[in-house]
């Protein structure tokens, strides 16, 4: 990239975008993520059938079989054990995955950034208490912790959000804390303090904006983790409850019909893989774009 003196000046975020734009895998990821989000939002318009509508005379049909419940007259991806349209269920399942990914990360960011900023800025006892709690949470293998929480609170998508946030904030807090520890020693922060600004204003206006890069990368990488966790929990019967379609509970249901309709178990897995893969590509690309020093 041509560096040098730039009279117009480009903002930090514009630079980031310019670097990201050149990264083909990341752009591929971004495009798929956008498509995936669009699909989740307009699922009712795209679906050939109601995802809950059953047709017991057409159970477990292979892809391409004629259908009475689909508007186009075919089960494009086949039908499930109740004769429901697998394609429609996958499209609606995207809503579950998207909302789990986004809502859990919003919670993780809200709690994690607050805790991390407090721990890093104030240090001392506050820091010690917050970080010890984080250490304890890190000591749980995460799926096991989710299982424990889901067992305690009962299976539902809201409790999946809670379970993911309860343990996920610790990682975000560690990340933000380390950034704040470094930034609070910077001269411009000292200058802000000398001006008599309040702690809250210094943290919110002067320190946190400079942590945005790592936070964004962490959120982008956290979304696929959350999607996989929800799928695992739903697969174990602890997450989203049938008949609401989720990619995880579809794979769980499909396992029993591996002989009759092997495709049934393949599709939801492909949906998870493509989504998570794209978020990972985007996350890798953002990390490189936000911190060009790491770029090889």
């Amino acid at each position: 990239m041509a560096q040098g003196w730039n009279p117009g000046g480009t903002s930090f975020w514009k630079d980031v975008w310019l670097r990201l734009e050149k990264n083909k895998p990341a752009m591929f990821g971004l495009v798929v993520v956008i498509i995936f989000s669009a699909v989740a939002i307009i699922a009712p318009l795209l679906s050939p059938a109601d995802p809950l509508k059953t047709d017991l005379s057409n159970r477990l049909k292979p892809p391409g079989s004629p259908s009475e419940i689909c508007s186009n007259g075919v089960y494009i991806l086949g039908s499930d054990e109740f004769g429901r349209d697998i394609l429609s269920r996958i499209l609606f399942g995207a809503r579950v995955s998207l909302s789990v990914g986004i809502i859990s990360q919003v919670l993780v960011t809200a709690i994690g950034v607050t805790m991390g900023a407090l721990a890093g800025y104030y240090g001392g006892k506050v820091d010690m208490i917050i970080m010890r709690i984080a250490d304890i949470l890190f000591a749980f293998p995460d799926l096991l912790f989710y299982i424990g929480v889901m067992f305690a609170l009962g299976p539902s998508i809201y409790n999946v959000f809670i379970a993911l946030a309860l343990i996920g904030w610790a990682g975000m807090a560690r990340l933000v804390r380390s950034q704040v520890l470094y930034l609070r020693e910077m001269e411009y922060v000292e200058a802000a303090r000398a001006q008599g600004l309040s702690d809250a204003r210094i943290i919110l206006r002067h320190i946190l904006p400079n942590c945005m890069g790592p936070i964004i990368v962490s959120v982008t990488m956290g979304i696929p983790g959350a999607i996989l966790a929800e799928a695992s929990l739903s697969f174990l019967g602890l997450g989203v409850q049938p008949p609401t379609p989720s990619w995880g509970n579809m794979i769980y249901a499909a396992r029993s019909y591996m002989l009759t309709n092997p495709w049934y178990s393949v599709w939801p897995g492909i949906a998870i893989m493509i989504t998570v893969f794209s978020f990972n590509l985007l996350g890798d690309g953002l990390r490189d774009a936000l911190d060009p020093r790491l770029k090889r």
């Binding site: 010890r132 709690i133 250490d135 304890i136 949470l137 000591a139 749980f140 293998p141 995460d142 799926l143 096991l144 912790f145 299982i147 424990g148 929480v149 067992f151 305690a152 609170l153 009962g154 696929p224 996989l228 799928a231 695992s232 697969f235 174990l236 019967g237 602890l238 995880g248 794979i251 499909a254 396992r255 591996m258 002989l259 092997p262 178990s265 393949v266 939801p268 897995g269 998870i272 893989m273 493509i274 998570v276 893969f277 990972n280 590509l281 090889r296």
Partner: protein, 306 residues
């Protein structure tokens, strides 16, 4: 070195205390009375009270927690509601199976991951590099239980090479070990590649080349040894994943390990068993991390100073 180990051991104590407290709280939030769970919904209230007294459920919570902790320290995690067996025994009976699965997949993961990672780094930007890194990222992105189901479909049902599930012969372990191992091979390969690329840019590698060493000696003796240090950490970081991954894998392949036991305990609402398994696994995890940290300090003396 001894100092470092002692420091780490002391540090683990509050973590373990916190872990037991959280486990205890989680299981006390569960709706429903354990005594009713044990006796059934239509049990005689007097009998329920008797059981509650027996189990100490009428004591204040802090007394219950103290007792739970004291018993746990002595290796007594209570008795299963459903089988009446000691929880510790049920855990220890199934745990070796999980360890066997975890170790065989760790072997697959390290062997495949290191090989692919080193080749990718040495032949950076080659077709092999691009292809294997895409496959590795796909491997990280696919949910393990789905990979397991697809592997059963292809190798068990379609090709009929390997048994689909069960645990009677060593042959039964091949598919689960590969399924679980490949997922971690993917992250090890990605990590090995990036650290290896760092290392081969170092001055001492240039020196080794300049003094006329064979490329093979440069790669295997000088570069690999140094590239391995961070890889040990990443393997350590996978212990959690390996444990939870084996939970899912066991469930799918019907392997009678700790994972399957925990799913059984969950579906039977067997409180003490769930509590025991969560605590046991967390303790194993803490110990595993401790071992990784110590071996890391052993490999890289700089760590001990921090």
């Amino acid at each position: 070195m001894i100092d470092y180990i002692i420091r780490r051991l002391i540090f683990a104590v509050p973590v373990l205390l916190g872990v037991s407290l959280i486990t205890f709280i989680l299981l006390n939030v569960v709706p429903g009375d354990p005594a009713v769970e044990m006796l059934g919904k239509h049990a005689d209230p007097d009998a329920v009270q008797k059981i509650r007294n027996q189990l100490g459920l009428n004591d204040p919570l802090y007394v219950q927690f103290g007792r739970f902790l004291w018993n746990a320290c002595r290796g007594d995690l209570g008795r299963s509601f459903k089988t009446g067996q000691p929880v510790t025994k049920m855990i220890l009976d199934t745990f070796p199976t999980t360890v066997k699965l975890a170790l065989s997949s760790a072997f697959v993961a390290v062997a495949v991951g290191l090989t692919v990672g080193v080749i990718s780094a040495v032949k950076q930007y080659s077709f092999f590099d691009h292809a294997s890194m895409i496959v590795a990222l796909a491997g990280i992105s696919a949910p393990i239980f789905w990979v397991a189901v697809v592997a059963q479909l292809i190798f068990g049902l379609h090709l009929k090479w390997l048994p689909i599930s069960g645990y009677s012969t060593p042959k039964h372990m091949i598919l689960p070990a590969i399924v679980l191992g490949i997922r971690f091979a993917a992250s090890i390969a990605r990590y090995t590649r990036s650290t290896f690329l760092d290392v081969i840019r170092q001055d001492y590698i240039r020196t080794a080349r300049a003094k006329g060493l064979a490329e093979r000696a440069v790669i295997f003796v000088h570069a690999l040894k140094n590239a391995l240090i961070p890889v040990v950490t990443v393997i350590g970081m996978q212990i959690s994943g390996l444990l939870t991954g084996s939970f899912l894998t066991e469930t799918i392949f019907a392997i009678p390990g700790l994972g399957r036991l925990s799913i059984w305990a969950l579906s039977n609402r067997d409180f003490p068993l769930v509590q025991g398994i969560v605590l046991f696994t967390a303790v194993i995890f803490v110990i595993g991390n401790l071992i990784v940290d110590i071996s890391y300090a052993f490999l890289d003396p700089r760590v001990r100073l921090h």
